[in-house]
């Protein structure tokens, strides 16, 4: 929050704030001066976009809500509504190069349009409040707003019209289609109305799928090494490593199979269920890896291989199922159904793995 002035307890409206890095001077309106925004990305913007894709940095990547100008707008210029997640705002302003217009940023707590609409922060009440705060009815002579289509789960066009007189037109899903949308006189083609999920769309999400699993990896590694090294005489480090490393590798591969390979190959992996898709990818991964990094030969090799083919594909399946929260086409009812079916399977799998590990130890120690 380096942009905030330390002495101002109450955020000041319009240009009394420190100019943000993406502003290029100000534009006067009947309701006061507003910042004019650049349409090109700086190195700082690109770095911020990258960081927000790979870390929790996204949680604080926000712009100040309110009205901004783009180009040289007048009372007849179009008004584009956006969210306060800086990446959403940046994608919009990059798409408005060469267009004169107004950008009204809603306070979505730094969350993107679609997710914020689902939560209701990108919503009717906030839009009505921002229209009034910005004095929009004095800034423009028309009564039209272009709201991103993915804001529709939170914005009732009819309610906004009732409360403010502004008519909401839902623009295209992607900001990059805005120019074509305006050129067509505010008509979006069916393609512009449909959300897609391309390979690039999916891959860009994968770092944030890996991250939660990666945080748990050290604990997993500790359990594996302790279990494998455990002997009646104490923990043997040589055993821990010799018997543990194929399993450590399996764990790593299972995470990658569930969090990267399954999302990337989503359309081509058989089945519609994410749990099934993740399990299939995990099974192939565990089997292939088991051939390269086989458990040490001996009396327990068969049991260890069974653990590999039982536990790790289920782990991939569970991780792949988490991806339902990030896609553009999965529903809550569907995800609930998957969980009802597969949570018992996961729990049974973990229980069976514990039994197998105990059996491995019993055999190793020749207790029976």
């Amino acid at each position: 929050m380096s942009e905030m002035h330390p002495r101002t307890a109450i955020p000041l409206p319009f240009v009394k704030r420190t100019p943000p890095a993406f502003s290029r001077g100000t534009v006067g309106t009947p309701s006061g001066k507003v910042f004019r925004i650049a349409t090109a990305w700086s190195r700082q913007d690109r770095w911020g976009a990258f960081r927000s894709r790979v870390s929790a940095y996204r949680m604080t990547y926000a712009v100040a809500p309110g009205l901004y100008a783009v180009g040289d707008p007048g009372p007849g210029s179009p008004v584009f509504v956006s969210a306060s997640y800086k990446l959403s705002f940046d994608v919009l302003r990059r798409s408005l190069d060469g267009i004169d217009g107004w950008v009204l940023v809603l306070d979505t707590k730094g969350i993107n349009v679609w997710c914020a609409a689902g939560k209701g922060t990108f919503g009717t009440d906030e839009l009505v409040r921002r229209i009034r705060d910005a004095g929009l009815e004095q800034v423009v002579s028309h009564r039209r707003l272009i709201v991103p289509q993915l804001g529709a789960p939170g914005v009732s066009a009819a309610a906004v019209a009732r409360e403010t007189g502004f008519r909401v037109a839902f623009g295209p899903v992607e900001a990059r289609d805005l120019k074509a949308y305006l050129a067509a006189g505010g008509k979006a083609s069916p393609e512009m109305r449909t959300v897609r999920f391309t390979l690039a769309d999916r891959l860009v999400l994968t770092p944030m799928e890996v991250l939660p699993a990666a945080r748990k990896y050290p604990a997993f590694a500790a359990v594996v090494l302790l279990t494998m090294g455990l002997q009646p005489s104490g923990i043997l480090f040589r055993d821990a490593w010799q018997h543990g490393w194929p399993l450590l590798l399996q764990g790593l591969a299972a995470v990658l199979a569930g969090a990267i390979v399954t999302p990337a190959l989503l359309p081509w992996v058989p089945g519609r269920s994410f749990a099934v898709k993740g399990w299939l990818v995990g099974l192939v991964t565990a089997w292939l890896l088991g051939r390269i990094a086989a458990p040490p030969a001996g009396s327990t090799a068969v049991l260890v291989t069974t653990v590999m083919l039982l536990f790790f594909p289920l782990l991939s399946s569970y991780i792949a199922l988490q991806f339902t929260g990030s896609t553009t086409f999965t529903s809550m009812s569907g995800t609930k159904k998957e969980l009802r079916l597969f949570l018992p399977v996961y729990l049974a799998g973990v229980a069976a793995t514990v039994v197998l590990l105990a059996a491995i130890k019993v055999k190793e120690w020749q207790l029976l």
Partner: protein
């Protein structure tokens, strides 16, 4: 890409429909088609329950239980008994939430 079939909570009451076409404007998956005088559900299984259509149907012709398809949020709600809530809002910046939002 398609998700599981026959699961959506989407319900459409043709009686109430006036054919305004808002649903075809807001649906991101082409679930609705605007016919002569009324809309019709042409691809029900593509519905992801985002709730945009119901929110924008002035005539109450559409109902859907909107919500997040976030597995970890649903698991949490199964344990706590509440509604599934995506925890990727600002309250817990270091929450172990994945890529959603």
């Amino acid at each position: 890409m398609r998700y599981l079939s026959g699961v959506t909570s989407l319900a459409f009451d043709e009686e109430q429909c006036t054919g305004c076409g808002r649903c075809t404007e807001v649906c991101p998956h082409g679930v609705f088609f605007l016919g002569d005088r009324k809309a019709a559900v042409i691809d029900r299984d593509r519905c992801m329950e985002c709730g945009a259509c119901a929110k924008n149907c002035e005539f109450g012709a559409i109902t859907v239980t909107a919500g997040v398809g976030c597995a970890s949020a649903i698991i949490t709600s199964m344990i706590t008994g509440g509604e599934p809530v995506c925890d990727c809002s600002g309250s817990k910046p270091n929450a172990a939430s994945g890529g959603c939002c």
